[in-house]
Symmetry: C2
DNA sequence: CTTACTCGTTTCATTATTCGAACCGGCATT
DNA sequence: AATGCCGGTTCGAATAATGAAACGAGTAAG
């Protein structure tokens, strides 16, 4: 693994952590030596990607990330394009709805609107959705070329709950079913007591770039609900895809000349 | 310079560029060998910090930045805290108003509200404000400890216009004046035909974290306007500082326990 | 059709950078 | 006073980064 990936891995740790971390804690979690960790952190701090509290000496995410996030959003306004759709879907379904973008092997939530119900699904900040164990991930796989699916199947499929699919062949079967159905279903495969339906957002070339999903407590899930909400996410994902990638209203966002 | 900083420098290049760049262009701008540049870029792509268009092979900012920016904003909601103040100030003054955060030797704009006037100041996306040549920078320096000012003065002070202060002693004098005045002034020291006033946002410990500034075409600037708007940014910066760092309404944002 | 250019990519011997065990001083607890 | 944990530092050994050169594909020019 290259030095750069090690450093970026530290940023990931800081994102995953809900609070600032000390040097020793970061080194332990990352599996690096303290000296190594510190050198990497110093370099990240010098570039503004990480920030160190001068008092507690703990490290946290730095200001450069905010600036870069804004820059990316400006060039490719995913949030602005997705937020209204997600909100509408949340109102329509009454459940927690989220959109995620594919990023380095996982799906990262971009927009999350929580259900207003007392018993609702929440997505922790910084959470990443694994491809093989979430409705979003399955929907993404179903929209991906076979070569990509093969690649994912070759990895070890981590187990999150008793219902997680950890067998490559079973995963392929589920993906095939999803392709036919047009949206994906998950039943407590990532978190206990959570069921979801999802569909992929596709770019102009058909390649998936992200997903839209509705998540609810398993107690509220029924086959009828699954199909009703499934049809909704599918329709919404298609509409968003068209809006983003100009199938309908022009303005190609990707390649600004 | 460490390998990590080299890689992060490439991200900076991509942010500064208004369009995606090819390998050769990036290598030339960064001053690295093509092979080196490519290796760094590949690692950044693998981590989602950079994205490569599979067709044109051009590189641009990646999805991870958006996710990380969101995470940082959630832990330290600068944008949410600043946006209303900046908007109010923009309405009150009728000019372009912006807030910036200190990041790796520069000030990065976080919130920008442009004037509604036809002849107005605009801030290009990805622009970074140098400390020695902008009203924001001077205001930041004036709020910084002397050791930091010394450090900045030791660098070579880049020239942007005929009015840019490039002499360390002159810079110290301007900073001293700003400390007395309570807000900073700039007259075409960074961009021709642009004048600004600014004041620093300070954390609970008094250390500056960012700035608020009003920028207008030099043709609309008068001594009276300068003092009127100067008093406004100063007051607004103080209010924001108090709001962010709990001098007034509690809730210490930095060290979430 | 050939030539000459550019671009992205790969290779590999050289070299500079990174690594990490051991260590230091500070602080809190025992 | 002793112990353990913390952030931070040192320096020889080990490793990963480097970049000149070459390759193949594509393209424009001759």
């Amino acid at each position: 693994m290259g030095t750069v990936s090690k450093a970026l891995g530290l940023i990931d740790l800081l994102q995953a952590s809900s609070q600032p971390l000390g040097l020793t804690g970061i080194a332990r979690r990352a599996g690096f030596d303290k000296a190594t960790t510190r050198r990497l952190l110093l370099e990240l701090v010098a570039n503004g990607y990480v920030e160190q509290d001068p008092e507690t000496r703990d490290y946290s995410l730095g200001p450069a990330l905010q600036a870069l996030g804004r820059a990316r959003e400006q060039r490719f306004p995913l949030y602005r394009a997705l937020e209204p759709s997600i909100r509408a879907l949340a109102e329509r379904t009454g459940e927690t709805v989220h959109a995620a973008e594919y990023c380095a092997g996982n799906l990262s939530p971009i927009v999350v609107i929580e259900s207003a119900k007392a018993n609702r699904v929440i997505l922790e900040s910084g959470l990443k959705l694994p491809l093989h164990a979430t409705a979003s991930g399955i929907a993404f796989l179903a929209a991906s070329p076979d070569a990509f699916i093969d690649q994912v199947c070759r990895r070890v499929l981590a187990r999150y709950t008793g219902a997680t699919t950890t067998d490559a062949e079973a995963l392929r079967r589920i993906v095939a079913e999803t392709r036919q159905r047009g949206f994906s279903l998950s039943d407590q495969s990532f978190e206990a007591e959570v069921s979801s339906v999802a569909a992929a957002i596709r770019s102009a070339s058909g390649k998936p770039v992200g997903t839209i999903a509705v998540a609810m407590p398993t107690s509220r899930m029924t086959p009828e609900i699954a199909f009703e909400f499934g049809a909704l996410v599918k329709a919404q994902a298609e509409e968003v895809s068209a809006r983003l990638f100009g199938k309908a209203n022009g303005e190609p966002l990707r390649k600004a000349s």
